[in-house]
Symmetry: C2
Subunit: 418 residues, 2 copies
């Protein structure tokens, strides 16, 4: 068996070659390819379900169960979702080729700055076979070759999805190697991918904190981190408390396991007596375990205490910690210390408080009188997202097709020299 | 003496705190600060020259001489350059606060995407004390705190420049810690800075290949690589040979030691007999050592041979390697194998050849009938540059003030929930 570095280099070289054809493909050709990929997945249901059944059996034999096992399950309905997702991306506008700037230099040279694909995009992900198709679709639409590395538990399912996608690409006249599912799912294979600087122009990890940490520490290829969201809702003295309740409940319970769910509630001291008993009851009514700092527990005695380290923790569950703060300044101070730069929200009808919160908080998204749950590529109108960046470099917040592109300059001269 | 990680963390914490004041500073306040920094450097000439004399003495004692020693020398004229550079940056438009996108979501939420500072920008650089002021000026203008880590040889000079800059900041009412020259110039200190993910939002290395490689390998903080420029000039069959000669000479000899100088000349076979003897003589007349592949040497017998590895080498000197290629396709193929993605040029009057070259080459900048030397922040009209990115993530090509910013979203709702 070849060593992982050689294996990954071979994948990389094929991806690089395919990326050149993709970079030159027209919007129409790429849309047609995505439609063909969707049709191929649609037509490969039997193969997909059979491969997935094997994965599920193996997972069960290895003791994987519950939510983890469910995440890797394919059903006819989930395959519908994959097919629909590819068709939706097919219909999105092509981000490639846009002129993002252009001017004439003083010497007469005409300069154009234009959007081009990154080249080869690698995605490392866990357990959900739909990510194979979602990521491949976004990469192909944005003109990039995709290197997809899922988890060992889902390898058969991912390969089956990959085979269908590749068949679709070939049918549409684009190289099959524009989408490659990496078969080497060893730890050494992952390390080889994380350090394949010759081949990988961008790596996006999609998974839990362990995966994100490993990528952040070991990757030498360029990475965009889809990191933790320890999101806060701050209820100001001038909040409409009905809005505050609706936003808090929505931010916490609508989908508690995702990164844009709220984890912490900050309440201004002047409205704590009125708001805390009300929101504690409402949250409890939605099955949320509410914990509080000393001041909150003095107002609502039933609350569980909060350990210091919890202020930095992303529960990703029906748990919310409540803290009483002194005004916008107190909220900003707390968020600066404990926020992860994902999404922060204020509920207020006070102009100055809203302005101060927006200026004082540094996050990918800041919400004024809206739920943290709106930080999302679909909600923002990007049509689809490959993740939500919590880093500041390259792209911040929801990553749509544009996040998978870069820019380059072309200068048109007439024998110009300096 | 505290350990380097503790030391760097203390610098980082002070920079983070200062960055908040800078992020909120108006364009007027930042311009005034840059003017005050310029005046302070201007007024600190004696201290600067004295500190530099110590550095020069120590360097001489340690056997540093020639170009390396000259690079760290400060003179009255070079201080004029530093002062003028700061004043020039003071006058540039503020990149912060621009709304780079804005729309209304279907549910009525108003979304704004706006340009904000990155936060803390670290620069690791070698030997030139003017980089201390240049980098500090660009960081402050773009609202970022700067952590500046020069080489041990230049520490006294850098600290003297830093002291003047900090005095200027304070006089203008901005925190002195917006600019910090790091005194720990040990290897361990560098490693601590390269891995200070809590404090550093962007690190830019400015220096030779050794520094760049070390940063690329060891940094876990976000980095923009100002990498090698193995730039090519391709002379097409349909080139105006006068233009071809002027562009080749300019690209090679105007400033051979910089990354946008041309290192390789590719000549289409059909014009090689005519062009090669002429350009070889012209280059030799400018003191360039011309080397050639077998085909070139068959036409111009006097040329030295080219070792295989040289096709990947950046000479940064008055040396140029010449290769005969088969048309645009041959040029593209060679550049794909050996280019570094910096700048590639074609000389042609053929529309199809120009289009094919532009489509087939993937570089930060592609020149049609213009010298590679135009890839430059000043030439592009950015007013100043902190480097030239050869990576695809975040920013590609000359990095001006915008490259030191990121974007964030602010969403204005009215009690909106999902």
């Amino acid at each position: 068996m070849p060593d992982p570095v050689t294996t990954i280099s071979a994948y990389g070289a094929r991806a690089r070659e395919a990326s050149r054809a993709l970079a030159g493909a027209t919007a129409a050709a790429k849309s047609a390819a995505l439609e063909a990929m969707a049709a191929a997945v649609d037509g490969a249901r039997a193969a997909l379900l059979e491969a997935n059944a094997h994965d599920m059996e193996q997972a069960a034999a290895e003791g994987v169960s519950g939510a983890l096992a469910d995440r890797q399950l394919l059903t006819d309905e989930r395959i519908d979702g994959i097919v629909g997702g590819l068709r939706k991306v097919a219909a999105l506008p092509d981000p490639v080729g846009a002129e993002t700037g252009g001017w004439r230099l003083p010497n007469g040279i005409r300069l154009q700055r234009m959007r081009v694909p990154l080249g080869v995009v690698a995605v490392i992900y866990e357990a959900r076979p739909n990510v194979t198709a979602d990521a491949a679709g976004l990469c192909v639409k944005s003109g990039n070759a995709a290197l997809l590395r899922g988890s060992s538990y889902t390898l058969r399912s991912n390969l089956a999805v990959g085979a269908a996608l590749r068949a679709g690409l070939e049918e549409a006249g684009l190289p099959a190697d524009a989408v490659q599912v990496i078969e080497d799912v060893t730890r050494e294979g992952a390390t080889a991918l994380l350090t394949a600087t010759e081949w990988v122009d961008l790596l996006v990890p999609r998974g839990g904190p362990g995966l994100i940490r490993a990528v952040a520490e070991d990757a030498t290829v360029p990475v965009v981190i889809d990191g933790a969201g320890n999101c806060h809702v701050y209820v100001d003295a001038a909040a409409d408390l009905d809005d505050a309740e609706a936003i808090t409940i929505n931010a916490k319970v609508q989908r508690p396991g995702v990164c844009n769910a709220a984890e912490k509630l900050l309440v201004d001291r002047s409205v704590a007596d009125e708001f805390l008993p009300r929101i504690a009851a409402a949250l409890a009514g939605h099955g949320v375990e509410v914990r509080g700092d000393d001041a909150a527990r003095a107002i609502v005695p039933g609350l569980a205490p909060v350990a210091d380290e919890e202020w930095d923790r992303e529960y990703l569950d029906l748990v919310m910690a409540v803290k009483v703060v002194d005004g916008v300044g107190g909220a900003i101070e707390h968020i600066r210390r404990h926020g992860t730069g994902h999404t922060e929200a204020i509920v207020t009808n006070d102009y100055a408080a809203a302005q101060r919160f927006v200026a004082g908080v540094d996050a990918a998204a800041t919400m004024v009188n809206a739920s943290t749950r709106f930080t999302d590529g679909e909600e923002f109108g990007f049509g689809a997202e490959i993740g939500i960046s919590t880093q500041k470099l390259h792209v911040r917040g929801p990553m749509g097709l544009e996040a998978l592109t870069t820019e380059r300059y072309v200068l048109w001269g007439d024998g110009h020299v300096r």
